[in-house]
């Protein structure tokens, strides 16, 4: 590290790093210099000049902006001289000439209550109460902390611009803007979207979108980053915009496995009103996404379960917890262990999931226990045999240092949004991006190489990449020889992966395979993000192992900025697996078949644990439908009845003889319940989530429980006791966590007290271990990575008889040269656009379709009975026969989420699964407005 710099600010000696600016050094030292356009974690900009200070160096005295001036040895900085103060006053005075300023200048500021209506002191357009950020505005805080005694400016110009209140989630009022440009900068520098821009210049410069278009067409991903940085009321969340926070707590977002740290604001009526990305968050660096920012308020919604209920004479009736436990125990006891199952919620804390696992195994005697959204367990479990850990190997923000990122069959910008932010940052910094996906997704915009294999041939394609790496000697020989086993066996199998053959099977040209392999193999470090969105069940374990082979071969395991990241869903799917809410593993990934390991946990629990693996969540849902499983406990918070991958879950639940549901809201999943436990939501519990980089993080309770809702662990422990189980006398979530730490080695050094100071990445076996950011960073004594032999396979070509085509539906933020109309309905904007359908010319010839014809794509009916239909104009650009592709705009998703009537909208946000479809030519509708595509 470079030599530190010492200098003085207002006679106080400061030590700073050489690359810091004066304001950064002052902030680190706890000193305040007023600023407006500066923002931590963003590049200095120097627009507002509010942070001016007097500097003296080598006998020269200057007035400089402290946000852009680097620190230097022996510099003397003065922030409070009379000149500086008068300069700041003038700057604020100028700024106010275009900002409604009643809230800054009115002589009654100290006298008025926040809700008082002002009648005569300030004119209507300038009143403090017309601003949604009144009383919580950074501009006003700045003025107050400087103790500026402002008066109305002589020349005040009200811009009188129209307010933008019809886009999803955002209200924009540029009359309140002070042109600090933070929103534009965060959108460009941090999120890389450039959905906002600085328009015009000098006196008329203002932020906004290109010619004032809707955010729906400007490439906005609705992450809310611009709202979080706006120092005025110009950008606000529409929901709860007039609400004031009473308390603020640090919590964890419960919508996806990134585990973003949020500051949750709760008002005095016990509602969670705002979610702001925590700048200190290690997992998210202050960023959130459309779900976390705008769809986390579901605990506030009316209609929640307040009391336990049980079915009496066919009707659900309110009851007490004791009676509910008894009724539930009664119903479960009647069935044999093989006939019951326990399913954990994707939003269940580690504590909930641990108790669920213990209840299933120690009390109900079954291994039929899984987390509901652990639908693709092969993503992580496939790594146990190759890497030794069933989790991502590296940390999320290491990705910004990757020189190449390979994204395989996953869509992180929508499903694990903030994970894509460092990927885009790496791309902006020149890293190569390789996307392997038939669908066009947001990351294909950044891709240097976009490979579109025939869906289902991914294993063969990865084999082809490995073959090129070996052929061109791009492997990391030292790492492979010293740290891994099994290369020879792999190399023998590689003879089959002849590029001509690989290319024929996957449909990807040889050159593209070579270029992609070189991009990945020759970059150091290089990371892989992989999902299973297009991967059939039979290929999944092999694909995970193939990905591990590729990463090991190039030495990208244990390397900072490299690694592999499985793209699963569910906020705490990782944690659920870690703590044994899994049919095959006990807490700490002890296999249920491992008798020695099992014995240790049996001793801790004082109970017998069945030794054969149970059913996974997908298998449980199937067994419910065919009557094999007769009774179940379902933790349903965070599940939508029609969620993709769950099959027809409501119908399966209906078949059950006995069902206990723990949920926040009534919905189709709880209609058939015999007993209902009212659930506390993530905002109302204390507990831990583990995110996809293995970071165990503490949720703080922000909202009070008003009625009889209980956290999951407490309800399940009560049920266990009613069933006669022992060892469930927990007083708090912290107690449960202490027990987890005692049985799961990787969690051994953790406790709620320790996590209150910040998340820790497992393995953290002891209290003095700092946790592990990068697995295998040094030779791991516990596990030696090994290669897995691979076999080439022909294309599966599985098509359902009546649905001969596969639809690869993609979604992007921005397609500038396509005609987009924005239509307003009920005061909200919606996208209306004609779509293109990509069809292969040979298929089109068979169907008698010409380029430019309009076709209808009709998909196989969904489990719920609905049939997705898409229409569009044909282009012959599909990469493969049998594959049709369409690309729609992300804005449609945002509009739908804004307009949804579901109290908990986030789980219902549709993903982009492959669908079996039939394509038919239809007549172009003659009437204007009839061709609404993609609906």
């Amino acid at each position: 590290m470079a030599e530190p710099i010492t200098f003085t600010i207002d006679d106080q000696l400061i030590t700073a790093q050489p690359d810091q600016t004066i304001i950064q050094a002052a902030m680190d030292a706890g000193l305040y210099i007023p600023y407006l356009c500066y923002m931590p974690k963003m590049e200095p900009y120097g627009a507002c000049r509010m942070c001016v200070v007097e500097t003296e160096m080598n006998g020269r005295t200057m007035v400089q902006a402290s946000c852009t001036t680097p620190v230097a040895n022996d510099m003397v900085v003065r922030t409070k001289t009379q000149d500086i103060e008068s300069l700041r006053y003038d700057i604020m005075d100028l700024l106010m000439t275009e900002h409604p300023h009643g809230c800054l200048t009115c002589h009654r500021i100290e006298l008025c209550g926040p809700q008082d209506i002002c009648l005569r002191h300030v004119r209507v357009t300038d009143r403090c109460t017309i601003c949604p950020k009144n009383e919580r505005c950074e501009l006003k805080d700045t003025v107050r902390s400087m103790e500026l005694d402002l008066t109305s400016p002589m020349e005040y110009h009200f811009r009188d611009l129209p307010r933008h209140v019809d886009d999803p989630f955002y209200d924009r009022d540029y009359n309140l803007c002070i042109v600090c440009v933070r929103c534009v900068r965060v959108c460009e520098e941090v999120r890389f979207d450039t959905a906002l821009t600085l328009t015009s210049r000098s006196g008329t410069a203002l932020v906004g979108t290109s010619h004032g278009t809707s955010l729906l067409e400007s490439g906005c991903e609705f992450c809310g980053a611009c709202i979080d940085v706006c120092p005025t009321g110009a950008l606000v969340e529409r929901d709860y915009k007039w609400e004031k926070a009473e308390t603020k707590v640090k919590s964890i977002c419960a919508n996806c496995p990134v585990g973003c740290q949020v500051v949750m604001e709760v008002n005095k009526r016990n509602k969670a009103i705002r979610f702001i990305g925590d700048l200190a968050g290690e997992a998210n660096n202050g960023q959130l996404c459309f779900k976390g920012k705008f769809a986390s308020d579901y605990p506030n919604k009316p209609g929640r379960y307040r009391y336990p209920m049980m079915r009496v004479d066919g009707e659900l009736q309110r009851t007490t917890w004791e009676q509910a436990f008894e009724a539930a125990a009664e119903g479960l006891k009647k069935r044999s262990p093989g006939e019951v199952a326990v399913i954990g919620s994707p939003r269940g804390t580690n504590e909930d999931n641990y108790v669920a696992g213990k209840l299933a195994r120690a009390v109900l005697g079954t291994n039929n226990i899984d987390s509901a959204l652990n639908l693709r367990p092969e993503l992580t479990e496939g790594l146990l045999e190759t890497i030794g850990y069933a989790a991502a190997t590296n940390s999320i923000w290491e990705l910004e240092r990757a020189r190449c990122v390979l994204v395989l069959s996953g869509n992180p910008t929508e499903e694990q949004n903030v994970l894509a932010v460092p990927v885009k940052k790496a791309a902006r910094g020149g890293a190569k991006i390789v996307v392997i996906d038939a669908r066009e997704t947001e990351l294909t915009r950044y891709a240097d190489h976009w490979l579109r294999p025939q869906p289902g041939t991914e294993v063969t394609l990865i084999g082809g990449l490995i073959r090129v790496v070996v052929d061109e000697a791009l492997e990391d020989k030292e790492f492979v020889n010293e740290r891994c086993d099994g290369l020879q066996e792999l190399k023998q199998e590689l003879w089959d992966f002849d590029l001509v053959r690989v290319s024929a099977i996957t449909g990807v040209p040889e050159d593209q395979i070579r270029l992609a392999a070189r991009a990945y193999g020759a970059s150091n470090p290089a990371a892989i993000l992989y999902g299973f969105d297009s991967v059939p069940l039979t290929e999944r374990v092999d694909l995970t192992k193939a990905v591990a082979n590729l990463a090991l071969l190039t030495g990208n395991i244990g390397r900072d900025g490299g690694g592999i990241f499985p793209l699963f869903t569910g906020a705490n799917t990782q944690g659920a697996n870690d703590v044994g809410c899994n049919p095959r593993f006990l807490p700490g990934y002890v296999s249920v078949e491992d008798s020695a390991g099992r014995a240790v946990i049996e001793r801790a629990w004082s109970a017998k644990i069945p030794s054969s693996p149970g059913k996974s969540s997908a298998e449980i849902f199937e067994a419910m439908a065919n009557g094999e499983i007769k009774a179940a406990v379902l933790m349903a918070d965070g599940l939508a009845p029609d969620q993709h991958g769950l099959g027809d879950l409501p119908a399966a639940l209906e078949k059950l003889e006995f069902l206990v549901v723990m949920d926040v809201f009534p919905n189709e999943l709880s209609h058939h319940a015999d007993v209902i436990f009212p659930a506390a939501s993530f905002a109302e519990v204390s507990g831990t989530f583990t995110n996809l980089e293995r970071r165990v993080q503490l949720l703080a309770q922000g909202m009070e429980l008003r009625y009889e809702e209980r956290p999951g662990w407490a309800a399940l422990a009560g049920l266990a006791k009613a069933l006669g189980g022992s060892g469930f006398d927990y007083e708090s979530a912290s107690d449960v966590f202490a027990e987890i730490a005692s049985v799961a080695e990787a969690y051994g050094g953790l406790s709620h007290e320790r996590l209150a100071e910040g998340g820790v990445q497992w393995p953290c076996p002891s209290a003095d271990s700092p946790g592990t950011g990068t697995l295998h960073a040094t030779a791991d004594e516990r596990f030696r990575p090994r290669f897995t032999p691979m076999s080439i396979r022909e294309s599966l070509g599985v098509h359902v008889e009546d649905y001969p085509f596969t639809l690869a539906h993609g979604r992007v933020l921005h397609e500038p040269n396509r005609v987009v109309d924005v239509e307003s309905r009920d005061g909200l904007n919606y996208i209306v656009r004609d779509e293109y359908v990509q069809l292969h010319a040979d298929d089109a010839a068979d169907l008698g379709i010409a380029e430019g014809d309009m076709v209808e794509i009709r998909a196989e009916p969904l489990p719920g009975g609905e049939t997705p239909v898409f229409t569009g104009f044909v282009r012959f650009t599909s990469p493969h026969q049998g594959l049709v592709c369409i690309t729609t705009l992300f804005g449609e998703l945002a509009s739908a989420l804004q307009a949804t009537e579901e109290p908990d909208g986030a789980p219902g946000v549709p993903g982009l699964p492959l669908r079996n479809v039939v394509v038919s030519k239809i007549a172009v509708p003659v009437a204007a407005g009839a061709a609404t595509a993609g609906s």
């Binding site: 450039t194 959905a195 290109s210 010619h211 400007s218 509708p925």
Partner: protein, 162 residues
């Protein structure tokens, strides 16, 4: 919505795409693209921003921030004829204000811009570079010096009837 394939037969987009793809210089930038489009169309419609964004693999917002910065770009169609009135110091001293007033009265507008019928665009010019001839106006970029208010009025009238 359209009743034919999107974008097909969209004449203005075709013209813009031709201009963008026809750029011969070594370095093609946002600015060069916009300038070339404006040379072709004499203004930048929304389609120009969108097509340029797609052409340089950028976003409409980035292109707009460049376009809106330069006062030389215009975003509405110009009139059939331009009438520039110099209001530089020399012309000012020699009575440019009177010229301007008579022209505006004749055209029925009170500031820069197009007449209601779109026939004439009036522009203020800070110096047309012919101070010895002050006051100066330019009709469709052709200079005319030593103009009197009466003469200016008749020129404006004639332009409107052309």
């Amino acid at each position: 919505m359209a009743t034919a394939a999107p974008d097909s037969g969209d004449e203005i987009r075709d013209r813009i795409r031709n201009v963008l793809q026809g750029q011969k210089q070594d370095t093609v930038t946002v600015l060069s693209s916009l300038l070339n489009v404006q040379d072709e169309l004499h203004y930048l419609p929304d389609e120009a921003i969108e097509e340029t964004a797609a052409f340089v693999k950028s976003t409409i917002n980035e292109v707009w921030s460049v376009a809106s910065f330069y006062t030389n770009f215009r975003f509405t169609p110009p009139g059939d004829h331009t009438l520039e009135v110099c209001w530089g110091p020399s012309c000012h001293v020699m009575g440019a204000q009177k010229i301007l007033k008579s022209v505006q009265e004749e055209l029925g507008i009170s500031r820069e811009g197009e007449t209601e019928d779109g026939k004439v665009t009036l522009e203020y010019n800070t110096c047309l570079g012919a101070c010895a001839q002050a006051p100066v106006i330019a009709v469709d970029h052709i200079h005319m010096g030593r103009i009197t208010p009466q003469h200016a009025t008749s020129i404006a009238r004639e332009l409107q009837s052309r």
